[in-house]
């Protein structure tokens, strides 16, 4: 039963890691524009030019 303590602490730490990643991504500006990336992904890669 006491293994629970270790398990829980570990899982909270891992989750905390994800939280930090989220906070960091917000800080670095990833969440500022959530619409344009959806358009950008639709562009095709350039096919080698025939010229």
């Amino acid at each position: 039963m006491s293994v629970f303590i270790i398990l829980i602490i570990t899982s909270v730490l891992v989750a905390g890691g994800f939280l930090l990643a989220f906070l960091w991504s917000v800080k670095s500006g990833q969440m500022d524009d959530d619409y344009t990336p959806s358009i950008r992904i639709l562009f095709e890669d350039e096919v080698a030019s025939k010229k």
Partner: protein, 768 residues
């Protein structure tokens, strides 16, 4: 040209992406237009970041409207290698360009953008987008932390939900409980801080705002939980508390997003599109206010508003700044002086060079300027008192519910009280009104009826009498034919007439001007002009005295003239002798009689006032109906008095007239609607401006404005019903606080959504 450019750089994909990619590059590409960007000080203002050779700049491109735009803009580096990277933000219509300043200058970047059809709108000194970004980040931090803590607390509270036989933690229990307590602290202290601060600030102003009950609910839940934990009488309600905070924050964030998408785009749809005359290479070009940039040379006629901060180049300015500063007396300026936007030129036409353009929002600010006059119609008065009482009533209900459960079953106090405090949503009271009117204004704007503000929409609803002016309102200038009849005028005399009529905004003057311009008559120096409102103009040029105006004016000046003309005429007299007249064959707008019929069948009283000759009376009676009171030869003062008389008999009057001559009457009426065929005349004395071609839709506009009240009442009732039902369940402790939080956010979003939906669907008759 754009195609060539794209083809050269192998970018023809652009045309595949949408059916209507991009817009054609406007006008001829002149290199001089952006010379001001060579100025180092200006560059410093615009460039966001500069390190070594690399420079960053952000531009607002109003032309962005589709996928191809994004594609083209993000591939700029292929057209010019000096551009390292460009990134667009579609929603904000911005592009961020990173370029090498040694290979390409800022001016060349802008030239390139203009060339492919995306000329940036450059406002020097307007960088307020930075502030908004920071606020959004904080909101996201709070949500992230609240979400993390909330979900972990719920997980750790799981054993509590199950019975003791199934999951007995034994001596692990304290660990779980204290871990919960630790996790709840960031939620209380950081995530909920916004709510607490807002409630506290409100309290300091002796005013309970909507955050007050929520703050109380959170505190009560937390306090009770701590008490239970420390006295070991229970495990507390920390899952509820953190759940409340998390869902409230998510709700607010979602609300903001919905509001942004429902809110109208302020620059384009509901603002009056003030037109300006730009002088380019000797030609006069009509452009919209937001197209002018620094350096443009503008023509400002008598009575026209100065559309941007500019320097006087030619002419003598006599500016009336009453809309801007409240000063009634016009001020005279010499060449080289700086004139501010918003002033009205009272003297003769002048040429000015733009120093700083202003946006439409500035014009609307002036329109609403408190310096103008007393506000005619009180704004949104029927809502405010209610919202004040709401929170007090709420606290009372929560208090009594608490007392009740304290007597009957103490375990239910907390769920009942906190649910009551949270489930109530007063937001509908304030939001509905703002939102609905905002949407109504926007749809009206799209149909080319521009209202000063929301109170105008409310006022339209009360109107029962409509007074129409004739010239310019019911008549269509574009289709009106004008013919000169009389002694032939030599070219010099024609040039004089043309030069004089050029400076006036009066529709008849403009018609003469157009006619003479088509006949390619030249312009001549005019020494003096004197306008007489609604009568005509007296001018001196090259030693000659020219009178252009009504028969009345000529008679006043002592010129013998034949007075029985059977229709509208503009007489010409030179050096005291009557020479001839321009015969005006008024064309009435299509749909006029249908509109009058509609208005009268709905019970509106219709009147017609005209400054024109009674000869048109017969034609009008046929068009509009025989039993409408019609009065002719009305001076602006007569019109004003007529409206006052109507108002004295208890009627609520809407005046529909053209802005130039009817300013007084427009101001006196309860709702003054100015009709304009070209957007150069901006009449701050009016409450709404309608474009000429849409005048016949007046009936539909009024109907729509009336519906807005219906929408608000409907939503109001709906939100009351929602609150009552919610309260019913909450007071009986049948509603968990978390579900209450979710319901509250759903209700405010649904209210906003419903308001947008109803304004949209009711707008069907006016949507083209």
């Amino acid at each position: 040209m754009v195609f060539q450019l794209l083809n050269e750089n192998d970018m023809c994909q652009y045309y595949d992406l949408t059916n209507m990619p991009g817009l054609t590059a406007k006008g001829i590409f002149t290199a001089d237009k952006f010379n001001y960007l060579d100025n180092q000080a200006i560059q410093d203002q615009l460039i966001q970041f500069k390190q070594g050779d690399q420079a960053h700049v952000v531009f607002y491109l109003p032309q962005i409207h589709c996928v191809s735009c994004v594609w083209l803009l993000e591939n700029l580096h292929k057209i010019n290698p000096g551009i390292i990277q460009s990134q667009t933000n579609f929603e904000k219509k911005e592009v961020k360009i990173i370029f090498q300043s040694s290979k390409i200058s800022l001016k060349q970047v802008v030239q390139l953008l203009a060339f492919v059809g995306y000329e940036p709108m450059i406002h020097l000194g307007g960088n307020d987008w930075q502030g908004k970004k920071k606020v959004n980040k904080k909101q996201l931090y709070k949500i992230g932390i609240a979400g993390f803590c909330f979900s972990n607390i719920m997980m750790l509270s799981f054993p509590e939900y199950l019975s003791d036989q199934v999951a007995d933690l034994g001596n692990l229990r304290p660990f779980f409980i204290y871990l919960n307590l630790i996790l709840s602290l960031p939620v209380l202290v950081y995530s909920a801080s916004g709510i607490f601060i807002s409630a506290y600030t409100g309290l300091r102003q002796k005013w309970l705002n909507i955050d007050a009950p929520i703050a109380l609910a959170i505190m009560v839940t937390f306090a009770r939980s701590v008490y239970e934990i420390l006295t070991q009488t229970g495990s507390g309600y920390l899952d509820s508390m953190s759940g409340i905070v998390f869902f409230m924050l998510i709700g607010r964030w979602f609300q903001d997003k919905s509001y942004d998408s429902f809110a109208f785009d302020r620059d384009y749809t509901s603002f009056f599109p003030l037109g300006v005359t730009v002088l380019k290479e000797g030609k006069e070009i009509n452009q919209s206010l937001n197209e002018i940039i620094k350096g443009d040379l503008l023509l400002v006629r008598t009575g026209e508003m100065i559309p941007a901060d500019s320097i006087l180049k030619e002419g003598v300015a006599l500016v009336d700044y009453s809309f801007v500063s409240g000063e009634n007396a016009p001020i005279a300026f010499e060449s080289g002086a700086l004139l501010y936007a918003g002033g009205v030129q009272k003297g003769r036409a002048i040429h000015v060079q733009v120093v700083k353009p202003v946006g439409h929002s500035y014009i609307t600010e002036l329109w609403n300027s408190p310096l103008l006059k007393q506000a005619k119609n009180p704004s949104q008065s029927f809502v405010h008192p209610w919202s004040q009482y709401f929170t007090y009533v709420l606290f009372l209900i929560a208090f009594f519910a608490g007392i009740y459960w304290w007597i009957v079953d103490t375990s239910k106090i907390l769920p009942a009280v906190s649910a009551v405090l949270i489930v109530a949503c007063p937001c509908s009271l304030l939001l509905t009104v703002t939102f609905t009117y905002g949407n109504v204004l926007r749809w009206l704007g799209k149909a080319n009826m521009y209202c000063k503000n929301a109170s105008v929409v409310e006022a339209i609803e009360k109107v029962d009498t409509i007074v129409f002016d004739k010239t310019g309102t019911l008549t269509n200038h574009a289709a009106t034919k004008m013919v000169y009849i009389g002694v032939a005028l030599n070219p010099k005399e024609q040039s004089m007439i043309r030069a004089v009529t050029r400076e006036s905004l009066h529709p008849l003057s403009q018609m003469i001007y157009q006619l003479l311009t088509e006949e390619q008559v030249g312009l001549i120096q005019v020494d003096q002009i004197q306008h007489s409102v609604a009568k005509g103009t007296i001018a001196e040029s090259q030693g000659h005295r020219l009178i252009i105006g009504s028969v009345k004016l000529l008679l006043e000046e002592g010129i013998a003239v034949n007075t029985d003309y059977d229709q509208s005429v503009v007489c010409i007299a030179i050096d005291g002798l009557f020479r001839g007249f321009y015969k005006v064959n008024h064309a009435y707008r299509e749909g006029m009689s249908a509109m009058m019929h509609q208005l009268r069948s709905k019970g509106y009283e219709v009147h017609l006032l005209s400054g024109d000759h009674p000869a048109e009376g017969q034609k009008l009676k046929l068009q509009l109906g025989a039993d409408i009171p019609m009065l002719f030869d009305q001076s602006p003062l007569d019109k004003l008095n007529y409206i006052e008389q109507l108002q004295n008999t208890g009627k609520t009057v809407m005046m529909v007239g053209d802005g130039l001559n009817d300013a007084g009457a427009l101001q006196k009426s309860d709702v003054g609607v100015a009709v304009t065929d070209h957007t150069h005349l901006f009449t701050p004395a009016s409450d709404a401006i309608v474009e000429g071609r849409q005048v016949t839709q007046l009936f539909q506009f009024i109907q729509y404005a009336k519906k807005s009240k219906r929408i608000i009442t409907l939503i109001f009732i709906l939100s009351i019903v929602y609150n009552l039902v919610g309260m019913y369940f909450a007071t009986q402790a049948m509603l968990s606080p978390m579900v209450a939080a979710i319901l509250m956010l759903i209700s405010s979003i649904s209210i906003v959504g419903l308001s947008a939906l109803l304004s949209y669907s009711y707008a069907k008759p006016i949507r083209s």
